[in-house]
């Protein structure tokens, strides 16, 4: 709802920006609003900022624009609660695309984006850690179901994709695959992010299975939802047999940390929970669906805020007598694991693929 269209700066897609009816339903869903109850740091407030930027009511150099574009976690928790269907995630991508143009981009982002910008660099990232268990399938894949190897997951948690394959033999892991472009898209390089997704779509024809909720949502937005399957969704779809009979004396108490983009972007929440319930007792803490503060590059760009967002999760976890915390996204893995370590909680963190492997949740061959 802006005035004369000719005064628009063209930073945002008008239909996306006009859709917000300012009802404020997003406020309680927003982790950054929850911190200090300042609306400038809420989805509605940020859309007001975007509108002011678009119409020139705010100068594009105004520091609050830079601050809020970066303070937002991009968790998209505002989307499912929005009665008007505002696609906030897309608006944020467009905003950062403008906000972080050229020299205005946070310095810490350059090396991250550089590392994943070319397929060969991404492959180099993972070469020492053997994220792929099986022999390379040569160059381009011809398989109909391919497992995507996350860029940073290869380095940090190579065991995740190895376990993902061990659980389901049908998955092929082509050696030649680059980055999905989510990192670019969320950090001010929207077009490059889409380009990388399309490139990966060619490298991995057919269905793409991914162990990262964030990658899943980005790929789905570019390649179409039908081509992309998040790993817990993949396992939940398979008619899996009961876990092997080696149940421990006490049922494990297992908490979950949702992946924001899987939950808020793709509606994936029931699937990992159903898998967990086949292994142990699901402890669905109130903060399970709330961003953990990893938020892609956020934990690197704003470590203090990132830790502050995580506090609530730790407080709930502390005393919940949980044995395991399951994640479905590598970023959350790192965030949750290091925070739990810092707090000294006796909780193991596992990716859903690792949980499936450990507890014999195999998909039918």
């Amino acid at each position: 709802m802006t005035s004369d269209p000719s005064t628009r700066a063209g930073i945002f897609t008008p239909e996306l920006l006009d859709r917000c009816i300012s009802c404020g339903f997003c406020l309680p869903a927003c982790p950054t609003y929850a911190m200090d109850a300042v609306e400038t740091s809420s989805p509605r407030g940020r859309i007001n900022l975007m509108r002011a930027l678009e119409t020139g009511r705010l100068d594009e150099a105004d520091p609050i624009l830079a601050e809020e574009a970066s303070f937002c976690l991009g968790c998209r928790a505002c989307e499912p609660v929005c009665p008007a269907g505002v696609q906030y995630g897309e608006l944020l991508e467009e905003w950062r695309d403008h906000q972080w143009k050229g020299r205005r981009r946070p310095l810490k982002l350059w090396p991250m984006l550089w590392a994943v910008n070319r397929t060969w660099r991404v492959r180099l990232l993972g070469i020492r850690r053997h994220a792929r268990r099986r022999k390379p399938t040569g160059g381009a894949s011809t398989a109909s179901v391919n497992l995507m190897l996350g860029c940073f997951e290869r380095v940090l948690y190579p065991g995740v994709s190895r376990d993902a394959c061990a659980v389901d033999e049908r998955l092929t892991v082509p050696a030649k695959q680059g980055c999905c472009g989510a990192l670019h898209a969320h950090n001010g390089e929207l077009e490059r992010g889409r380009e990388l997704a399309r490139q990966l779509g060619e490298q991995l024809p057919g269905t793409i299975v991914t162990t990262s909720g964030g990658c899943a949502a980005h790929l789905a937005s570019v390649l179409g939802r039908e081509r992309v399957v998040e790993y817990s969704e993949w396992l939940a779809r398979a008619e899996a047999p009961e876990p092997a009979a080696r149940a421990p004396a006490r049922r494990l108490r297992i908490a979950i940390q949702d992946s924001c983009h899987a939950r808020n972007g793709l509606g994936i929440a029931a699937e990992p929970r159903a898998l967990i319930e086949r292994v142990g007792e699901l402890v669905d803490l109130p903060s399970a669906g709330v961003c953990c503060g990893a938020a892609g590059s956020y934990s690197v760009l704003r470590p203090k805020d990132s830790a502050r967002v995580m506090e609530r999760h730790l407080d709930e976890l502390d005393g919940a007598e949980v044995d395991l915390m399951v994640v479905i996204n590598p970023g959350c893995y790192r965030q949750v694991e290091s925070a739990i370590k810092r707090r000294g909680l006796p909780v193991r963190v596992l990716h859903i693929a690792e949980l499936a492997r450990e507890h014999g949740l195999t998909a039918p061959g």
Partner: protein, 474 residues
């Protein structure tokens, strides 16, 4: 609006405050809790009311009653307008802030102090959300009945200020029926308490009640004591299609006359039905003239019996289809149609203006017909839905405000709608408040003597007229 002045780099825009005012406010609440940067002022220039824009000069975020009092003393001494604000979800421009004003955000005062099942009360600060209070009550087997559409985000302070209603008003009443006591800071900085945990307490004028619906013009609420009631053990829902809304209204009257007091009686007109179906494809009958959704709560047998009696009344009045939900999923599906109305309408055009008027229940069908007639005459799309039990309806216009003449036609249409509501013995607002948007019609409904009294009451509370000026008795 001095927009050019806001384009300073991070510094505050030009101020009309006396020198040192921001520093004095910061001394009260802390430096981080006073915001005067252009971006924050932008965020606090609007509430949920379409097309209404204010121009505050700073926003303060107090955490205690003492801080609120400190802010009011500074504002009163300098005659600075103060606009109290919760979640900013009102639809009447109730929290749009005039130029040179302070927005007083109560969102940080969000402590739910206690739920006392013995006295059946809850005590909380104004920034607690309505649904949080309801959940806390439910944990003790109690019910906080007011359930405005914005309950997940709206604050209880805002609910009291706007005297919010909701879907259960016919059976349970509205916010004012649950306010037992308040603590409030006056415009001049003193703190008063009125009422408390007592059901019977007639010492003094009923100031708690006076503050309900006062829209932040009389005092700033800092603590509220709410009455709670036992939660019903069962709920049930049903629906009926009619070829004409008149029949639905007749069915409602018949059911009530038969001694049923339903908890929910929602109607959706044909335009809404078609819009919802176009958007959500949930299998609604788009040939029907109206959909009536009814619900009852209580013990299991009463719920079942009452739903059956309402269904029978619907059939008697010519309903084309009647269904009682037998499972939770079915009930959710029934309510989905009602919930999807606003989102569906909002997708038709860039702006959605959700209005509010009430007529005596017996005149509801007549009123809705009038709305449809007005819509045709002014070439507007107006969907109407609302509460058939209490005569409260929400004619909703969808328009592109950039289209030449669209706003004028909308304004003219609403003028006719409110005039008709008053003529039928109704009200220009049932639950959204008067705010800045309905102010032009207030005197038409109340009369000049009544409005003059409002002004005298306002002056007694707020001699310098600093609290939310331009609203109600200002």
């Amino acid at each position: 609006m001095a927009n050019a002045d806001r384009n300073t780099r991070g510094a505050s825009p030009a101020t009309t405050f006396e020198a040192g005012t921001l520093a004095a406010l910061a001394d009260v609440v802390g430096r981080d809790r006073v915001r005067a940067d252009a971006g924050t002022l932008e965020a606090y220039s609007t509430d949920a009311t379409p097309l209404e824009r204010g121009a505050p000069e700073c926003v303060v975020f107090p955490a205690t009653t003492a801080e609120v009092a400190g802010i009011m003393r500074i504002a009163n001494a300098q005659r600075i307008p103060v606009v109290p604000r919760g979640a900013g979800t009102n639809l009447s421009g109730g929290t749009t802030a005039p130029p040179g004003s302070i927005v007083l955000s109560l969102a940080r005062m969000r402590r739910l102090i206690e739920v006392d099942p013995g006295d059946m009360v809850a005590v909380c600060e104004p920034g607690v959300r309505t649904s949080e209070l309801a959940a806390a009550a439910a944990a003790h087997g109690l019910l906080f009945p007011p359930d405005p559409g914005s309950q997940t985000t709206a604050t209880v302070g805002g609910n009291v200020g706007e005297n919010s209603g909701g879907l259960r008003a016919l059976k349970y009443g509205i916010t004012r029926d649950y306010v037992l006591g308040v603590e409030a800071v006056l415009a001049t900085g003193e703190t008063i308490r009125s009422g408390g945990r007592l059901v019977k307490d007639v010492a003094g004028y009923d100031l708690s009640r006076l503050l309900c619906g006062s829209e932040g013009t009389l005092a700033v609420l800092t603590e509220i004591t709410f009455r709670l009631v036992p939660a019903p053990s069962h709920r049930g829902t049903g629906m009926a299609y009619f070829s004409d809304l008149t029949q639905a209204a007749a069915a409602v009257s018949q059911a009530l006359a038969a001694g049923v007091l339903p908890v929910t009686l929602e109607f959706v007109d044909q335009i809404c039905l078609r819009t919802v179906e176009d958007y959500a494809r949930i299998g609604l009958d788009t040939d029907a003239g109206a959909l009536l959704i009814f619900g009852q709560d209580g013990d299991e047998t009463t719920v079942a019996k009452d739903l059956e009696r309402i269904a029978a009344a619907c059939r008697d009045q010519g309903a084309t289809e009647v269904r009682i939900a037998s499972t939770e999923e079915e009930a959710t599906a029934v309510l989905q149609a009602r919930r999807a109305v606003l989102p569906s309408l909002s997708r038709l055009a860039p702006a959605t203006i959700l209005e509010d008027a009430t007529v005596p229940r017996s005149r509801l069908a007549e009123m809705v017909r009038h709305v449809q007639e007005v819509a045709v005459r002014h070439r507007l799309t107006i969907g109407t839905f609302g509460h058939a039990g209490d005569g409260n309806l929400h004619p909703t216009v969808v328009l592109d405000p950039d289209e030449p003449g669209a706003l004028d036609r909308t304004h003219a249409a609403f003028d006719e709608i409110f005039t008709k509501a008053i003529e039928l013995g109704g009200s220009i607002t049932g639950e959204h408040g008067v705010g800045s948007v309905k102010r032009p019609w207030l005197e038409r409904q109340l009369g000049s003597d009544h409005v003059a009294l409002l002004r005298r009451i306002k002056a007694a509370f707020d001699p310098n007229g600093i609290l939310n000026p331009g609203k109600l008795g200002s």
